[in-house]
């Protein structure tokens, strides 16, 4: 017993000593394992610090880009809608419409590798392998005419790539400008006349405010209660199981194929329209008629008016080659090439009725 007490006392002593050894600390937290640090420490620096072993070619990058990036960034990095433009824009920075791309603006190539690897594709982040990231980075350089089509990027040649706007930045110098120097504000008779030179209402780009209460003092309790319930009713999604249930394995495979779609489309509980309509109930519905979606192309609306319905045949054709199947569709997706993917995504959509 006394021996046990001695041991306990010794242990207490050790703990006091080890606390003292952490001169500035409380001894909270625990050591990070090397594996944990490796799992989270994925950042890359301009000097190449952090780059993993690996390589990827323009050729490989083109295929990955078409499948995973072109849907938002466009086939040539020109961008779809308001998604970021990746290529071009050289010699525009001093113009009234600067186009800031990897080629025209980004000072460091490491930023591309780091960002693509940590945050892209949008909606499926950190799914690219190191080699795929090298390949995509090489392809983005190619889109910007900075390398030729034979180029292969690797950790070894990474820091040799010259970025056109590497010298385009200067440090914060606000304190050296006229704006900073102003110190004695005028209080009286500061100017002779004042003219209105611009008005927001001319542009008319301010969002309308459906619940605006520029208060009248006359709103009734009923009105207030009515504005309170403008959330979609949760019960409206009651599912009707009429058609034969799709193969669960295909549905599961379809879920992973759907990652290619989810930057623009949502599906499942609470799905709402994004760039494209939500796809609950899309299977079996007349083309171009998702309730509340207002951004259909004329071509898509016309296809629906002519009686086209989203069934297995029409979805297969459309998802294989959207632009050829409905000419003029706004869907910028390049298309699914593998039959397995097509069958899986259709099963997945079928598994999500209205």
């Amino acid at each position: 017993m006394s021996r046990f007490l001695n041991l306990a006392a010794a242990a207490a002593l050790v703990s006091v000593f080890s606390t003292a050894a952490l001169a500035d600390g409380l001894g909270l937290g625990r050591p990070a394992t090397p594996e944990e640090v490796a799992a989270w420490d994925i950042d890359i620096r301009p000097d190449g610090a952090g780059l993993p072993e690996g390589s990827g070619s323009v050729f490989d990058g083109e295929e990955i880009y078409a499948e995973r990036c072109a849907v938002c960034h466009g086939d040539f990095g020109e961008a779809v809608g308001r998604w970021p433009v990746l290529a071009g824009g050289r010699d525009t920075l001093a113009s009234s419409r600067p186009v800031k791309t990897v080629g025209s603006y980004w000072p460091y190539l490491s930023t591309v590798w780091d960002y693509v690897h940590r945050a892209m594709p949008f909606g499926d982040a950190q799914s690219l392998t190191d080699d795929e990231t090298y390949a995509l980075t090489a392809y983005i350089l190619y889109l910007n005419d900075l390398v030729d089509d034979e180029f292969e990027l690797s950790r070894d040649n990474f820091t040799e790539v010259a970025m056109p706007n590497a010298d385009g930045f200067f440090p914060d110098d606000r304190m050296e400008t006229a704006v900073w120097a102003k110190r004695e504000p005028c209080m009286t008779d500061c100017k002779a006349s004042v003219e209105i030179t611009g008005r927001a209402r001319v542009l008319d780009v301010t969002p309308d405010d459906p619940t605006s209460k520029i208060r009248t003092g006359t709103a009734t309790s009923e009105e207030a209660a009515a504005t309170q319930t403008d959330e979609p009713a949760a019960g409206a999604a009651t599912q009707v199981a009429a058609v034969a249930a799709p193969d669960p394995e295909l549905v599961a495979a379809g879920k992973s194929v759907f990652r290619k779609c989810q930057a623009c489309h949502a599906v499942g509980d609470g799905a709402r329209h994004k760039i494209g309509p939500h796809l609950n109930g899309a299977f079996g519905r007349t083309v171009g008629t998702a309730d509340g979606f207002t951004k259909y192309s004329k071509a898509m609306a016309a296809a629906g008016e002519s009686g086209m319905v989203w069934d297995e045949a029409s979805l297969t054709a459309f998802l294989q080659n959207p632009k050829a199947t409905i000419k003029g569709t706004r869907m910028a997706f390049a298309g699914l090439r593998k039959d397995d993917d097509l069958r899986a995504i259709i099963a997945y959509l079928q598994a999500h009725p209205e």
Binding site: F122, V179, V194, R199, S221, T227
Partner: protein, 418 residues
């Protein structure tokens, strides 16, 4: 905006102005005001009991007080921004549910049981903390504003959005509870060559920014509470970084890791974005501090004067990323003459200040502006003074003086003046 909604909105506004006028004129019945003479339902019937609203929400009469976005600004609502309704607020603290949101990969729903904060890089001990660990460090309470670098960014080329919610609403002011970052860094022991930190988020954007070690050891906080309760998911639950006075993008939400290094990382959000492009095509970078700025929130386009002439309360907010606000000046005549506004409420470092100017409106049109002077003596510039230095391609860091044109009927519009 469609023709119908525009018309109906005008109609609504007009109706409001008439009704407002009637209210100002007093009771309409000879015998008195029906609001007094008649027994109201809430005076007659019992209301809901204590458990009806276990987490309270505002009165249904306040349903119009909401964050709003500007759809055309971004490709998608996932990587987007909405705006604090400044014209509906008073005092200096922004309620948690109205703090504007800016996400780059949507709202991460982090399970606090799986929350970890890692410190790695140039430290003596690479460490991992749980949320419970963080709550065992001595903590502090500090109120700070958080302003997005792009606040007012749509106004560089001229008056564009008609409402202070949209022109100035990428800001909130919150009382944080958290642990000084220096305490946590000391636990890991920063090596002498550790000159920068890289905080990183756990969200699908894995947001990162490089911050110099001087700032990290000065006033940054690792915060887990806002205005007395746990952080909201959209503000980084369970843990965010607080970087007082510096652009909002650096206040990493869903903070999962802080790396210590010897040079900056030059990641996307500090090169491709959040850099200030000048007219000559060169760009200023690492513009961290948010310079002194102010805006009149009432009256403003979304908050017209409804009561007609007579005693009028003009109010607004002012802030500086370099200290406190020393003075706010207000002009009613487009900058010909300025008046000292009254600052009321707390004057905290790098926190929103509330100002008032109480005046007798004669019913004639007004050109309203406010001008902040901070504790360094910096005077908020006009938009044209900023443009003279920076051109119109900047996007970020627009702290120029805002003008509202108030018409005789009390309506207000975002304008620019000579």
């Amino acid at each position: 905006m469609t023709e119908t909604t525009r018309t109906s909105r005008r109609h609504f506004l007009k109706g409001g102005l008439i009704a407002g006028g009637a209210m100002a004129a007093g009771p309409v019945l000879a015998s008195g005001d029906p609001a007094i003479l008649e027994v109201q339902p809430w005076a007659n019937q019992l209301g809901e009991g204590v458990d009806a609203r276990p987490y309270g929400v505002p009165s249904p009469f306040e349903n119009h007080v909401r964050r709003r976005n500007v759809e055309w600004l971004t490709a998608d609502p996932v990587s987007s921004v909405n705006f604090t309704p400044l014209h509906e607020l008073d005092g200096v603290i922004t309620p948690n549910g109205l703090c504007f949101e800016r996400h780059h990969g949507g709202i991460a729903e982090v399970d606090p049981a799986k929350y970890r904060l890692m410190i790695n890089g140039l430290v003596d001990r690479e460490l991992v903390f749980t949320l419970d660990d963080l709550k065992r460090f001595p903590r502090v309470n500090r109120a700070y504003f958080l302003e997005c670098a792009a606040n007012s960014g749509m106004e560089w080329r001229g008056a564009q959005l008609n409402g202070c919610q949209f022109t100035h609403g990428m800001i909130h002011n919150v009382l944080y509870t958290g642990v000084p970052l220096r305490t946590i860094l000391a636990e890991a022991g920063v090596k002498t060559n550790g000159k920068w930190i890289l905080p990183e988020g756990a969200d699908a954007a894995a947001m990162t920014r490089s911050i110099p070690i001087e700032k990290a050891l000065d006033d940054c906080l690792v915060a887990f509470a806002m205005n007395g309760e746990a952080l909201r998911p959209e503000q980084g639950y369970p843990v965010r970084l607080v970087v007082p006075g510096w652009e909002g993008n650096m206040w990493i939400k869903w903070l999962r890791r802080i790396e210590v290094g010897d040079m900056p990382w030059h990641h996307r959000e500090e090169t491709s974005k959040y850099t200030d492009l000048f007219a000559d095509g060169k760009a200023r970078r690492f513009t961290w501090e948010m310079d002194a700025k102010s805006v009149i929130t009432n009256p403003s386009p979304q908050a017209p004067i409804l009561h007609g002439k007579g005693p009028t309360v003009l109010t607004g907010v002012a802030w500086s990323g370099r200290g406190t606000i020393k003075e706010v000046h207000v002009t009613l005549d487009g900058g010909r003459n300025w008046h000292q506004a009254r600052i009321d409420g707390p004057s905290w470092d790098k926190s929103i200040h509330r100002f008032y100017f109480d005046f007798e409106w004669d019913g004639r049109p007004l050109l309203l502006q406010s001008r902040a002077v901070d504790s360094t003596g910096y005077v908020q510039p006009t938009k044209n003074e900023l443009r003279a230095v920076r051109g119109e391609n900047s996007i970020y860091h627009n702290n120029g003086i805002q003008t509202w044109h108030v018409r005789a009927n009390g309506e207000a519009e975002n304008v620019e003046i000579s």
